[in-house]
């Protein structure tokens, strides 16, 4: 169903490194742009990658982002060894955030992370365990329209 895997790359995300935050999503954008992926699919992939990257940077010590391109979709798997999410339903509500005031002053943690990812993914799955970490699996179809 997902077609053959054409490209796979794994990036390390450094927690608490706000200075470098966003570099991985930029790199993914450049790759997708070079490959001539439809604009709308790039836009959605980049938003998801950025939100995921930010979540790891904000809450975890470290994590990884795996980017996979198949003939039909972009897969983004983001796994971290962070605190986990206690109430997943709550975390999917727009505006809900556990970010500190400091983070928000920096412009992060407006509680848009998961809702924004959900909005932009064709399929989004979250696995989380308090004290262990969180994994987000996102799928973005390579749609030619839009």
């Amino acid at each position: 169903m997902t077609g053959a895997e054409l490209l796979r790359e794994t990036f390390e995300i450094q927690g608490r490194d706000f200075d470098k935050a966003g570099e991985i999503s930029s790199e993914i954008k450049v790759t997708l742009l070079d490959l001539g992926i439809p604009a709308e699919s790039i836009r959605r992939s980049v938003v998801i990658a950025f939100e995921a990257e930010m979540n790891v940077v904000m809450y975890a010590d470290k994590g990884t982002l795996t980017f996979v391109l198949t003939e039909e979709e972009v897969k983004l798997d983001i796994c971290d060894e962070g605190p986990g999410i206690a109430d997943l339903e709550l975390a999917f509500q727009e505006g809900f955030t556990t970010a500190s005031d400091e983070m928000r002053e920096l412009g992060f943690g407006f509680g848009m992370g998961l809702p924004n990812m959900e909005k932009n993914a064709d399929d989004l799955r979250v696995e989380t365990e308090v004290g262990k970490g969180t994994s987000v699996y996102a799928r973005i179809r390579l749609n030619t329209h839009g």
Partner: protein
């Protein structure tokens, strides 16, 4: 894909191969091979950075010549507000208009009404927009082209409202054909332009539709003539002008003034390509929030600093502020005219703006990936020095050029040392002085 029209010519004989243009180009559209610069047309966004960087005069802006306009029976100048900032303030806008008529235009269109109308249309568009924010202004052709080439994900965020210069051209043709009994095709709407990018937007609109303007004349092209007319001419009334003296159009040439009536809180003026690129990168990630509208001008100082303007940017800016401070309130007649046209006209773009088809993106995805892998592998063999001696601005660009069969691996001086000798002979011939 149609042949792309660009606003620049590179005259090979004058080019010294110094690479200044290659390094200045924001979209990496220039290559310098065998000591001569050339442009990859699909990547060029007509920003003029190469023109500004070229010290030998090899890169020249192309505008539509004045003479070509003679085939029209009636010529109307549509004047960028930036023009009025180019002359000392004692030469009031009305006198500049008179000088334009003396130069050969039959009338001068003051498009305060058009600007006001587009302002209203944009506000309505922003209010009704349900897609992702921020919306991006499309009045600077360079910004539109930058989005098409480097930010295809944002094309839908370019606002699909006409530019005032276009609605002005349509309206003036209606008006004068009725008044003079001429066919619209016998009337020329000629834009007095601050940059060649606007000329290109007339010759080849980004959205693929047509332009209602018939051509453009760069400010620098007629500057000396206008100035000498102004110097000898007495102050006079402006009998043939169609304006009402409200001078409202001055907002439009100014930074932070394109849409003065939009909410200040949710609108952001952006000047200069490098700042625009930074902000666009952040928009793509979804990092810019709570901004409804971005007013973007590729030039520092907006159109007042366009590459076909003459006056020092800061002198012109001061004059612009003085002109704005002298604004009077819009007249009743102007208000009536706005209300009339608002109810009768459609201000949306005639065709959608699409991403530009950049070379090599049209083959099978599998092949594109294979090509990228080839470029990545080649990158590992290159020094990462970005010296430019291969003719591409960076090692990455060289690797990509090779993967696109646009260059040969051996052009890198690190990979084949005899390249240095080739270059030595080329540059010995072209170097002047020392």
């Amino acid at each position: 894909m149609n042949e792309l029209t660009h606003g620049f010519r590179i005259e090979a004989e004058k080019c010294h191969g110094c690479m200044a243009c290659m390094r200045a180009c924001p979209t990496r559209a220039i290559r310098v091979k065998k000591g001569r610069a050339s442009v990859i047309p699909q990547l060029c966004i007509d920003c003029g950075s190469c023109l500004a960087a070229c010290s030998t005069g090899a890169i020249a802006a192309a505008t539509v010549g004045f003479a070509e306009l003679d085939k029209f029976k009636y010529k109307v100048a549509v004047v960028t507000p930036a023009l009025y900032t180019q002359f000392p303030l004692k030469h009031a806008p009305a006198q500049v208009n008179r000088a334009l008529r003396e130069l050969g235009f039959d009338a001068v269109w003051e498009y305060a009404v058009d600007i006001e109308l587009i302002d209203l249309a944009i506000r309505k568009y922003v209010k009704n927009w349900s897609g992702p924010f921020p919306l991006i202004s499309n009045s600077c052709p360079v910004v539109v082209r930058l989005v098409q080439v480097a930010y295809p994900t944002l094309v839908n965020q370019l606002i699909r409202v006409d530019a005032p210069r276009e609605t002005a051209a349509r309206e003036l043709k209606r008006r004068y054909s009725k008044k003079l009994g001429l066919e619209p095709s016998e009337i020329a709407a000629v834009y007095i332009a601050p940059c060649q990018a606007k000329t290109i937007s007339i010759l080849q609109p980004a959205e693929g539709g047509g332009s209602s303007l018939d051509g453009s004349v760069g400010i620098s092209e007629i500057y000396n003539d206008l100035l000498s007319i102004l110097r000898r001419g007495p102050a006079e009334d402006d009998p043939a002008g169609n304006g009402n003296g409200s001078s409202e159009w001055f907002h439009w040439g100014a930074p932070e003034g394109e849409f003065p009536s939009l909410s200040q809180e949710h609108y952001l003026p952006l000047l200069g390509l490098s700042d625009i690129i930074k902000v666009f990168n952040d928009i793509e990630k979804g990092k810019i929030r709570n901004i409804d509208f971005l007013e973007c001008h590729a030039c520092q100082g907006a159109c007042i600093g366009g590459n076909l303007t003459v006056e020092n940017l800061y002198v012109a800016r001061t004059r612009n502020l003085r002109l704005i401070s002298g604004l009077s309130l819009p007249s009743q007649a102007m208000g009536d005219e706005i209300a009339r046209r608002l109810s009768e006209e459609d201000f949306s773009l005639r065709a959608p703006i699409l991403p530009r088809n950049v070379e090599g993106r049209d083959i099978d995805l599998r092949d594109r990936v294979a090509r990228k892998k080839r470029a990545d592998a080649m990158m590992k063999t290159l020094p990462g020095l970005n010296c430019g001696l291969c003719g591409a601005p960076s090692c990455r660009n060289h690797a990509e050029d090779v993967s696109l069969d646009r260059a040969e691996t051996v052009e890198c001086v690190f990979l084949s040392r005899d390249r240095i000798d080739v270059l030595r002979t080329i540059y010995k011939k072209t170097a002047r002085g020392d």
